[in-house]
């Protein structure tokens, strides 16, 4: 087998892969991704550097921009923490978006129909409802996966559309605000059903929730017996069976928890930011969350960091509209970055060496 393309170089497998090398590879990949995306910006006749400066300035250049970035970071990080847990066990839960919507649904039910309850009762109730609805939604693809090994990637993805349309039915039908000028929205939550915010920003106290869940996940994965079972099951199902770990039990538990964290994100979004349920409550948080989890190598602490960056990109994307770009330009940036990061993965296990003569 001759690889003429590489000339006097060849690809060798390596076993060593230091932490520093991983960071260098990740950062390089992201930069290459941005350069690649910049080529497309060039095609439109704009200067990509200007565009990137604009994104940076609007997202972290001001207190307002920074606070908006954090507002976006919270649902991104929570959904990403959710999917990362499932990914640890090689369960490809692509359904964070749907679990997010179902979490919002559960929380809204209590906000609308138990609005008279005191805040200290209503908010925990909404949290619990969001958690359970998101978890149960993830359990739907988990059950056939656990018992008959049905591919969870497709089933979890397809359920996103079901969840989205279920919310559409509610906000166009039974839950529509009679005073809402026929817009697809529910009536606003009572004050008791909303999470307080910091000062006059839109950042809700759900920020604490995000940090707490990240830390808990970190400890579960690193130090608990159950986290160890997840890691072993993710590496080799045969080894998990061999060690007497119940694969079925772990699939169900992991998927439920994974979905419930995205459900919490949905609750935090309607209760902390929007204060009502509407047709579209997410610009694709659940999908971006997958990208974040992969970029962060499933490490809960890195997920927070990457979520902040992706949140900034989203906020920057909104501001691009004023320069005549669609905000969906950001999806192209994300796609380009992911492409290079996945390609760069190879260099963690392989390296290019000069052939010996």
């Amino acid at each position: 087998m001759k690889r003429k393309l590489l000339g006097s170089w060849e690809i060798k497998k390596t076993n060593t892969s230091s932490g520093l090398k991983k960071v260098v590879i990740s950062v390089t990949s992201i930069i290459l991704g941005l350069i690649f995306a910049g080529l497309f910006v060039l095609l439109t006749g704009k200067n990509p550097l200007e565009l990137y400066t604009e994104i940076v300035q609007s997202s972290v250049g001001s207190i307002y921009g920074l606070s908006e970035t954090i507002v976006e970071m919270i649902p991104l990080a929570l959904c990403s923490l959710g999917v990362s847990l499932a990914f640890r066990m090689q369960l490809w839960n692509i359904g964070a978006e749907g679990q997010f919507y179902m979490g919002a649904f559960g929380a809204t039910y209590f906000a609308l129909f138990f609005s008279g309850l005191p805040k200290l009762v209503l908010l925990p109730l909404m949290l619990l409802a969001g958690l359970i609805c998101g978890g149960l939604w993830a359990l739907i693809p988990a059950l056939p996966k656990a018992f008959w090994n049905v591919n969870e990637t497709i089933s979890s993805l397809l359920l996103n559309y079901v969840a989205y349309l279920w919310i559409a039915y509610l906000v166009y039908g039974p839950w529509k605000d009679p005073k809402g000028n026929n817009f697809p929205l529910t009536k606003p939550f009572s004050d008791n059903g909303t999470i307080p915010v910091f000062g006059n920003t839109r950042i809700s106290y759900a920020l604490f929730l995000m940090f707490i869940i990240a830390v808990i996940l970190f400890f579960i994965l690193k130090h608990s017996k159950w986290g160890y079972e997840i890691r072993v099951s993710g590496s080799s199902r045969k080894a998990a069976d061999y060690a007497g770990m119940s694969y079925i039990k772990n699939v169900l538990l992991v998927m439920f928890l994974s979905g419930s964290i995205s459900g919490i994100a949905g609750m935090a979004e309607v209760s902390g930011v929007l204060h009502r349920l509407q047709q579209t409550i997410s610009p694709g948080y659940g999908y971006t969350a997958i990208l974040i989890a992969l970029l962060a190598r499933l490490n809960p602490i890195s997920i927070l960091l990457v979520s902040f960056l992706m949140g900034g990109l989203l906020v920057g994307g909104y501001s691009l509209q004023t320069s005549g770009f669609p905000s969906s330009m950001v999806s192209m940036f994300q796609g380009s970055i992911l492409f290079f990061v996945l390609a760069g993965e190879m260099f963690n296990n392989y390296r290019l060496v000069r052939k010996k003569a």
């Binding site: 017996k225 890691r231 072993v232 045969k238 080894a239 061999y242 060690a243 007497g244 770990m245 119940s246």
Partner: protein, 501 residues
Amino acid sequence: MVEMRKITKEFPGILANDQVSLVVNKGEIHALLGENGAGKSTLMSVLTGLYRPDGGEIFIEGKRVEFSSPKDAVKKGIGMVHQHFKLVQPFTVAENIMLSIKELKQIYNLKEIERQIIGQSEAFGLSIDPKAKIWQLSVGEQQRVEIIKLLLLGAEFLILDEPTAVLTPQEAKALYTTLQKMAVSGKSIVIISHKMNEVMENTNSITVLRDGRSIGTVQTKTTNEKELAKMMVGRNISSTTGKTLSAKTDILMTLANVSALGDNGLLKLKNISMDIYKGEILGIAGVDGNGQKELAETVAGLRSAKQGAISFCGKDCTKSGRKKRINLGISYVPEDRMTTGLVTELNAYENVALKSYRKYPGPFISWDKVKHDSEQLIEKFDVRLASMSNPVKMMSGGNIQKLLLAREIESNPKLIIAVYPMRGLDIGATDYVRRLLIGESEKGITVLLISEDLEDILSMTDRIIVMHGGEIMGVVKPNETSREEIGLMMAGKRKVDLHEA
């Protein structure tokens, strides 16, 4: 006529073929007989152009040939049916065969190919519907597709790797009828096998390989199973292990009429009844794939018994799974150490925890304690590694096996199931593992040793059970049996039948 002269092929650390010569005449069915690892597959891979030999020559019809790729071999009329068929499941028979036709034009006539398939299948009694999709076919029919494919490619020299391993006895009979027809029509056929009765019944001549060397070629008519068994496994025992035989009679574990299914859903373990005595080393001998793996998994609790009862220390444990069996004291050294026994991406101490993580109190694992315990274990069993924090896939094979054995022994088991524990290890590590298992049995721990290496079985065990086709052929004592007797039982002769004859 095909002749291979003094073929030598070396892999790192293994001399797979050492000056092997083989002559296959036109119109004959020739068997290549030998144990696993004897070098049969390597030799045939050289002949089909998959490997380039390090030494030796190949002649076809007296002319010297050199193959730089399997394509060259196909051009010279050499074709092979592999154990795992290379067919595209959703395609039809004709489409699969079309795929292998090299000079196929952009516009082709599928009808013409279908006609050719029917022609070939009628000539040799290989009935097949060219329009059938592969996934609809039985294993035997898929094999026929592979054979027809070779015939249409113009193969004059067919190699079949363990062709009957996946067939029912009836299908096997039909296959040999076909092969005989082909031989009569002038084609040469090589069967790779380790089933002696089959080889005796259906071939013209037999070449026996052992440890990468050719032991000799004999005419099937002039030999017998006893002679072949001796050629296959016969070697002097180096009784260095110092094992003293002991007759134990306290029962540790009983299997009563246990049957179990294999991974493919077929019955792989048929009515197994046996007692395992406390403190003995019980050997299970047999050719790979005759139910030993399923037996080990059923005893370990990884495979549920379809019927029958299992009891351990007098208590029924038929229904208990792996976790309960671990708690009962059943350790298991699986055949597949890299994906089952160990998690190769995790590091050494994380792998030590695979067995012991439950013993730490509370929901958390104290990794400091695990590290400390692992250090002691690694020192006690002399496991050599660069760092405990490196993934175990970076360790050498022998040390990986030592780590696995160390973990399984250190958990204070009552029973250790060891499946092919010496396979793939070098001489030093093999010797270490042997002594370790014998040492454990002297401490009163029971060992169930599954091996296909008769030397190991004879030199290490107190009793030997021979399996064939998922059944027990007989129970013998190492000092009262012979390699020939075990070899015949491995080939499917029952002990009672042997002694009547």
